[in-house]
Amino acid sequence: MSRKTNQSEGKINQYRRNFLARTTAIAGMTVAPGVILNSVAQAKPVDQPASNKNRWGLLIDANKCSSGCNSCVTACHEENGVTGFGNPETDAQWIRKVKLTDKQTQKVQTIPLMCQHCEHPPCVDVCPTNASMKREDGVVLVDKHACIGCRYCMMACPYGARSFLHEPTTEQKYPRGQGTVESCTLCVHRIDDPNGPRNPACVEACNAEGHKAMWFGDLKDPNSEITKRLKEYGGVQIRADLGLNTGVRYQNLS
């Protein structure tokens, strides 16, 4: 464990240095005033592609996550129209609550686990059709137009973050279909909101429940709350040893 932590801290430090370097570079770019929802970032015009000037991510505080609460999960599945058939083994789970008990100390924590939006995503590496893809702004998605449903990405994902749709789907809200693979989209439709990026449903629900254990934001924006928090308190990646540089970070995971 200690080896892993050290490694990940090294990564984070490097990460921070990168932020600092960039701070000066894009200091001229200030956040537009009056941006909605904890001024996450500037709105992207609808006709512009997502840019690599942003990298969207989440920060999750394991100590603040309440063990009895499942709101992020419910909210996510409601927001994205992820319905199930009463079988946890085959139903899609974009996000799930994981209960961790330390074998030594018996300390119990819970965290939400979803696609970690890896910078070097194994799912994308192995996909034979390039259906698994990473947007310029770091959001990892499945292009269901191309997905053949081979599930190789599910074999490759270290976090079990992906689900295969085992049943025909109807009443979709956002596209999802039988025989293809899907996972957390980082609520990409909210990121692309013409009025500016909005918090994902899970973060929104967590805030509304008063736990405030999740932050969403631009990891490349030195002024975003998420980067500031990361800079101040740090944050680990799950399975940092794999060197995937995940976009989802955790705090107080011990």
């Binding site: 946890p88 994981v98 074998k103 599930r151 074999m155 490759a156 799950i238």
Partner: protein, 411 residues
Amino acid sequence: MKTIRFTELEGRSPGFFALMAILIAIIGAGIVSALMMHGQGHHITGMTNRIVWGTPHVFAVFLIVAASGALNIASIASVFGRTVYKPLSPLSMVLSVTILVGGLAVLILDLGNPEHLLDVPLTQFLYNSMPSRWTRSVFGWNFILYTGFIFVVGIYLWFSLVPQYKKFSKAASIFAFVWRLALTTGTGLIFGFLVAREAYDAAILAPMFVVYSFAYGLAIFSLVLIPTYIWTGRELGDVIVNRLKSLLGIFVAASLYFVIVLNLTNFYSAAKGEGIQSFLLFGDNSYSSAFWIGQILIGSILPLAIAFYPKLKARGALLTAAAMVVVGGLSQMYVTIIGGQAYPMDMFPGKTVESITNDGGIAAYSPTIYEVLLGLAGIGITIFLVVFAMNVLRILPESLADKDVDPHHSA
């Protein structure tokens, strides 16, 4: 040595038609199963979000690995100059292609969305096959390796069947041999690339698949050869059968040696020894039985004994040993593929993990009839195609009697 006469089969007997009818029924059942998975969704199979590759993949990967092994007879004859096997070369080449086709068919029929293969992604396949992607997309090279294998073996077959090209056939055989090694390595790497999963270790799986492929391929080859000769009334002498039998024994011994070394090494690394290794080998589950009974007892020890026990009737012994090796091979794939997924991934070292998807626990899996039928259809396709090929191509020697195979043999 007498020149060997190759002829096609007659293929007009009632027995032949009955065989073809049975094969078509098996293939049909598999296709119906696939259509049902496609129509109703994969929930009718035992596969889940944890066991994402199931029984169809056990069959498919077994066949793909065996395909390259089936080419061995031809390679041994020409690359390594063992002329005794020369008469068997054409069958070996054809069989290797049909096994590969059978395996790939299962993979494709299992896809959630096979029609998307026809739609967009050919460009993506090609993109993925570009050398610049080779360090990433192992599927990219496998795409080249599989299609290339069929092509390379096809040319090899052509060179060796057409007299005026005979002179090239040696070169083609070496090329095909190298290609087949690459193919099996590539198949091993499909798993080896899954860095997050402890059960699959690139450095070990690829060579292991190569070693296994020798035995699996030869076993299928024997299971095709002997019945064909018995049912068509062609002569099949003990010389060749005994040779094949010892060869199978050697291949099985090599695999067994590899399995032992691999497992001992894994126990040596403490983390693995306690975790997945004891789960697969000594856990209270179907994987440990598949390992000990399927892979080790039926798949290795018994065929070894049969192969080297001289008093048995040659043909019967080879047939039994070969069938056992196939059972052992399927068991091995079951342990590797499904057992490897059933064991939880170690996301949080030092912690017990609970979640709705059973992250910290062993994933349950019970295959359904649809998966099994689909897998069997792969074998059906293989046999159907090879029987068909035997009827249209001159790939079978008229006689494999001792005097025709080995002129020095004194009866």
